[in-house]
Every structure is written in structure tokens, then in C-alpha cells.
Symmetry: C2
Subunit: 316 residues, 2 copies
Amino acid sequence: MYREKIKVLDCTIRDGGLINNHDFDSRFVREVYKAISASGVDYMEIGYKNSKEFFSTKEYGHWKFCDDDEIKKIIDGVESRTRISVMVDVGRVNIDDVKPASESPVDMIRTASYVKDIDKAIFMANHFADKGYETTINIMAISKDMGPELDEALDQIEKECKVNAVYIVDSFGALYQEPVEHLIKLCKKILKTKEIGFHGHNHQQLAFGNTIEAIIHDANYLDGTVYGIGRAAGNCPLELLIGFLKNPKFDIRPVLDLISKEFIPLREKIEWGYIIPYAIAGMMNEHPRAAMALRKSSKKEDYREFYESITNTGLD
Amino acid sequence: MYREKIKVLDCTIRDGGLINNHDFDSRFVREVYKAISASGVDYMEIGYKNSKEFFSTKEYGHWKFCDDDEIKKIIDGVESRTRISVMVDVGRVNIDDVKPASESPVDMIRTASYVKDIDKAIFMANHFADKGYETTINIMAISKDMGPELDEALDQIEKECKVNAVYIVDSFGALYQEPVEHLIKLCKKILKTKEIGFHGHNHQQLAFGNTIEAIIHDANYLDGTVYGIGRAAGNCPLELLIGFLKNPKFDIRPVLDLISKEFIPLREKIEWGYIIPYAIAGMMNEHPRAAMALRKSSKKEDYREFYESITNTGLD
């Protein structure tokens, strides 16, 4: 019943870090790592590998930088087959700071890129591949970039890039099933030698459904986060994804424990999930930036005004 | 871009009533009716038409019984093209108490039935049709009844029943997109003269995605509730459904106002939405009964124990 090629990647700490300046304490990150390892999940993405020349360590926690030594403190002594991933953004990392894979606790580096930056992303991903890492390119905000420029970018990746997989990233939570089907089929057609991945955002409660849609059309790299934590509405809940996949290597119970003990209390302190301004941003195919600002203001529940500010229907 | 035949039914008060003993006060119900009317939604289901000989008026509020006079108090003086629906359960209503449609504020009666009770449901639905109502049969818990007995029931409805539409009801929130596709196609094949409807439950965050799936395969009667209120994890959020459908007759703004003013405060008092024990029940294709009991106990966040009690994995 199950498809052995499917790889599940937990990006709880990486995407969750976007709502707390990447400032999870080491105890918490280690608890996540232990649970993810015990549940049999293939990869855990522990943060961004940004350079300290671009961002202040006073403003951001460890998981904005992912120093090898910090990662080692998390994983040392834990029995695990889970491989460690970090994400890099085009233009925010000094690639010469990245050691060869043989000297690092990191197994995979995922390069996040907009379609317009694909040349830079290919250069970076090839650099990391040459250093011995597994690599992917994650094409962000793809719901804004579905025209011929996407075909070109995919074609260029296929011809020039050594990545193992290319991800469709629905950054704005704007995709419905039919566009997901279209995008995965497009990728399968052009990327003959790469696996396809899917990373959903949950603004319209479609991250899990869209991930299933991606699976149906043969995406094999799938992202989730514990209890759906992540920027704005968050991501595909890992526990639902594990519950859906039939591979006996997965055990949902460590993830359930982790939610009980760590994520229910955490959700009292920081906000993510189904929240109307994020849903509106998703419907409008917009970055959740304005909705995130609204949620920090006294107008956090003024949905109509927010809707009208985005659509200008108030001017009719 | 839009399909004119699509009808949206709001069942906020009816399905929401399952978590507060149908005891919404008249002011609240009228606010919902005003917003639903202003948003252009086709139907509003206001409750169950159960007989008082079977249930106590001390234990349950008005919307368990839906007396015509109570409905009139809600709708009188509100400009509206929204039609009023009530639901009946097989065996819980004295059909002779139901007046002819011409004497009632109710426009549609939906008969909820398990596959095993389909003979009774057909009898009841025909009785209501003869009294002049629009009618549907809503086949509950269909994820437990997908074998040949379902084909037979559908065949019998097609041959013997006057209903306008037949609904697939995913009572346990257990269906993924592929079973939804299968069920809608099966219905379309057998029910040549009826419309097909879909009512999703949101245990696995799939109510909206599955409703889209049903639309793709030509279901035209679609249920939603404001802010997804409903038993356990609740239903397809009406605001997402309206946001998805392109019919210009719909206006999301009155629903957004209603959520701001009424549903955010209500959610502080009663619980629905994405809650892990409901997700587990959905994964296991079980009624949320045990999960609902758990949420009222001191073990409400003991997910692993609950999971093991359902799956018996603790005995391995």
C-alpha cells in the first residue's frame, strides 16, 4: 500500500522559527529531535544557515545560523536515523563558510529561491552538492510565478543543476488541488532526473489536502511540521501526514507525546493556525505580511476592514 | 468561471447545535440569519425537526425542535433570498406533525440516514416531498458503508425516491480525496436524476479540500458552517467555500463581520476545530464520541493513551 520512495521532512524548527526569531531553546529543539527520530521521519530541518555578517545574533536565535557546534549539541547521544537538513536563502549566506559535508553534522542543504533568482540558486545548490551534501531547490511563492518563466526555470534546473529534488512551495497558501496537480505534472514532465517535493502552507486549511494531491501525482519529498507550526497559518501537520502514509517505518506516537507536552503549552505563547486574516491573504494570493502585522495590532479581529484594504472593495 | 448550479447550504446552527444542545439564543440565530442572507448563501439550515415526544425541552434548546413559530421569530422582517432548511433523523420525528410546506416557513427538509435505514429515509423523504418541500437524503457515516450495500441504497433512492439531492456525509472526517472522488463518481453513475451533495467534517483538516474535490467531480450541493463550527472538529468553513467559489452572488464580508463579532467570542466558550483526539478518530475512521468524552475529562491532552486505546497498539 505504501510508496517506499516517499521521504518525509519535518521543518518544525526551521519554519516555526519564522514566528519566534528562530529562538527555540536547546532543550526544546532536542525534545523535537528525539521525537522526530523516534517517529522514523526521514529528515529534520533544524533552521536556516544564514551568515552572521547579514543578521545580528542579538536579534535572532541559534536556528537562524545553524552553527555546526550548536547542531551537535542537539543530536549528540540520541539514537536516530533522521538526517539533518538546513535551509539557505539566496543572498543571505556566505557559501564559503559551509564546510564539506564530511566535516559537518548536516546531511542536506535546501536552497530557497524565487523563480527570478533561479540562476543564483542553481549555482549555490551545485556548490553544496560538490561539497558532498544532498541538495534541493525550493521554489517559493510559486502561486505568483506559474507562467512560462517557471517552465524556463525548471528546464534550467534539469539541465544545469545537481539537486536531488525540486520543491513546489505554496508560500501564500493560495493553491487549490487543481493548481497543485498542474504544477506537479509540469515538474514531472520537465524534471526527468529529479524527485519532486511539496511544501504547503495552511492559510486556507489546504496544506494537508494539497500534500495528498501532490502525493497522488507522484511527489515524493513531503514537508510537515509538528502540530502544523509555522509562519502565519503554519504548515501541513506532520501528525496528519504520518497518519495518512502507510509506511510501517513511521510511528505517530512520539509526535503525539511531543504535541501534548510541548506544543499545547507553546501554542499559548505564540500564535499560528487557522486565523481569518491569513485565510484572506491566501484567498487573495498575497504574502501574509500584512495579516501578520494586523495580528499584532489592536485591529486584529477587524476582518472586513482588512479584507477591504486588500481588495479595495470598500471603494466600490 | 463559476458553475451556476452550485447551491451552498449553511448549517451553522444545525451542526453547531450538536455541541451546545441546540441552545443558541434567538438574538444569535437572527444575527447568523442576517449575515447568511446578506452573503447570498442559498440555504440556511436552522436545526433539527425532532419531536418533543422523543426529547425533553428542558434538556434541549429550540433548534432541536424547530417549531415554525420560533423560525418565524428569526426570519421575520429580514430581507432575504436564503431558503430555510431543517434536518430530520430517521426515527426521531413524528412526520404527521410536519405541516404542508405552504403553511410553513421551512423550504427544505433533509433526511439524515445511515445506509441501513435507507427504506425508512425514502419513505420519509417522499412524505415531505408530497407535502411540497424540497428534499434531500443525507447518507451519514458513509466512510463505514462503502461496499455493495451503498450501491443498492443509491439504486433504491434513484428508483423510489423524489428527493432533489443525495448527500455524501463524511461524519467521521475519515475520507481523503480519492475516496471522495470514488463516492461522487459512484453517485453520479447511479443517481441519474438527482443532484449530488457533499458534507465534510474537519477532523483531519480535509473538509474544505474534500468539498473542492466533490465540486471537481460535479457535486452541486455543498455544506459549510461559519468559522467551521460543528460537532468535534467541525465542518467546512463557509468563508473558505465562498472565497473559493467565483459566483458573484456571494459576498464574504457579512460572514467576516459575523466571525469577528460573534464567533471569536463564542469560540472562547465552546470548543471545536483542529484538536488531536478528533484527528486520531478521523484517521481511525471512528465516530468522535470517545474523543468528545476525552475532551471533557482530565486526560484531555493525553493523546498517546487515547491513540492506544483506539488502536490497541499498547498491547503489542
